[in-house]
Structures are given as structure tokens and as C-alpha cells.
Symmetry: C2
Subunit: 149 residues, 2 copies
């Protein structure tokens, strides 16, 4: 799993879970999907469990399941549950008392807050169901072309 691909890796995992809604998938299985380690998976999606997006169960036959219907899981929630920051730049003061810095931070913070709200709004309209639908389309296309050839 590369740097900065936690969101896409997590979505990858979730689509697989959505495709097998009745079957608990183990961290081991999920890890193979994104070519990584089971512990990394558990660590990465621990936040999703806390947010109710997925559930986990221990012991024999245990594993991971979606916590609710794919239509009710938005990318905004997933991103937030991962603790991802939408905008990469920081606005932490480094020279408290410097008026120039204060002005810079004020303007940048205004932008950051507005931008974050905007991105969150956009992400809240994309659901896991949209992703599975897109996957299904691709899957069916391959099927058709296989028949054709």
C-alpha cells in the first residue's frame, strides 16, 4: 500500500465487502485485495468501525461486514473516519505575535474552512453504492465483450 492511498485502498476494500454482503471477510482476505498486511488493514479501517461504517467480529468465522447499506455510506463519512485531511497545508502559527503571520493564517484559514466544507459537500453525494454500480458496469461490459469474442 503506497503512501496517500489510504482512501482508495479503503474504498477498494469496501466495494469487495459490498459485493459479498452476507460473508464476513477476514483482515487477511482484505489485505490481499490491496497487497498489504492484515495488521495494516485492521489499523486502517479501525476508524470505520468506530463510525459504524463496518462491523468486526472475533473468533472462528469472524471478520468484517458493512455496518449499513452501501447507499447510506458516503465518501465524506469514509474520508472523515479515516482521519484524512482533505487539504494538505497547515495553518499552525509558528511565530505567535507576528502580524504578518496572523494575516496569512487568517486568509488561509478562511479559504481552508470554505474549501473543506465544499469538498465534504461534494463527497457526501458520492456513496459506496455509486462505486459498486460503477464496478458492476465494468464487470458486465467485460462479460459482454467476452461473449462477443
Amino acid at each position: 500500500m503506497k503512501r496517500n492511498s489510504r482512501l482508495s485502498s479503503t474504498l477498494h476494500i469496501l466495494v469487495h465487502m459490498a459485493e459479498k454482503p452476507a460473508q464476513a471477510l477476514t483482515s487477511e482476505q482484505l489485505a490481499t485485495f490491496i497487497h498489504t498486511n492484515p495488521v495494516v488493514v485492521r489499523r486502517t479501517i479501525a476508524g470505520l468501525r468506530d463510525a459504524g461504517i463496518v462491523t468486526s467480529s472475533r473468533g472462528h468465522g469472524g471478520g468484517w461486514l458493512l455496518g449499513r447499506a452501501p447507499e447510506d455510506i458516503s465518501l465524506a463519512e469514509i474520508s472523515a473516519a479515516l482521519g484524512e485531511t482533505l487539504l494538505p497545508f497547515s495553518t499552525e502559527p509558528e511565530s505567535p505575535g507576528c502580524l504578518v503571520e496572523q494575516a496569512v493564517i487568517a486568509v488561509l484559514d478562511d479559504f481552508r474552512i470554505a474549501a473543506e466544507r465544499l469538498l465534504q459537500e461534494k463527497l457526501s453525494h458520492i456513496t459506496l453504492a455509486d462505486l459498486t454500480a460503477d464496478f458492476r458496469r465494468r464487470y458486465d461490459l467485460i462479460g459482454v465483450s467476452s461473449h462477443a469474442v
Copy 2:
């Protein structure tokens, strides 16, 4: 200079330059503003010179000057010149051929492109002049309160 604060540090520097439009400021001076090393400054704002946002001159009396009026320098240009990525997540394929991944990347890429355009648009409306104006307001406020006390 902390991680991820290249944009705000650079803006800090630029406001100082805008406040002394006739005086070439050395990397040494700029470095003290943001508590770092002259070489780090040169490296950081090298891209701004290539973009014409600032100019530099060597030798005795040399240093850095704004390349044009603060009203004509937008945060969008500055951010771009720094090589900053507005959105932090990657959409690089890691399992080419996996339809799930393709679906995830497709949806995420659509979002990323739209979001980037949106952020850039917003940033293009904020200029260095806005920052200096904000600084001036704060500066004058302090002055007034000093008089009052």
C-alpha cells in the same frame, strides 16, 4: 519551518517583500522571518522566480523582489509555483486489471479533477494584495489601541 507549511511560509515571505517594494531582501533576512535556513528559502521560492512572481539578483546589494504588483499575484499561482498538490490523496493504480480498483479510481479521479478545478478557481481570486491589506488592518488596529492606552 514545519512540514506542510510551505504555502503559509511563502506567503509570509511575500507579504514582507510587498511591504518593502523598493528593497531587495536577502535569503538570510527572509529566512529569519520564517525561522529557517537561507538555503531552504532559496530552494522553496526558486519556483516562484521561474513563474515570474519574484526576481532575484546576485552579488552585493542583491536579494529578492516581487516580480509584479501584489494585485497581480494570486494564491493559485503561488501554490502552483510551489508545486503544491491541492488534494493529498493519490489515484495511482496498484493492481492494474482489477475492476474494483478501476471503478474506485474512476470515481475518485472525477472527484479530484472537479475539486482541484474548484479550489484553483477560489485561490485565483485571492491575491497577495488581499493579504497585505489584512496585515495593514491588523497593524493599524494595534497602532490605534496603543494610542488609546
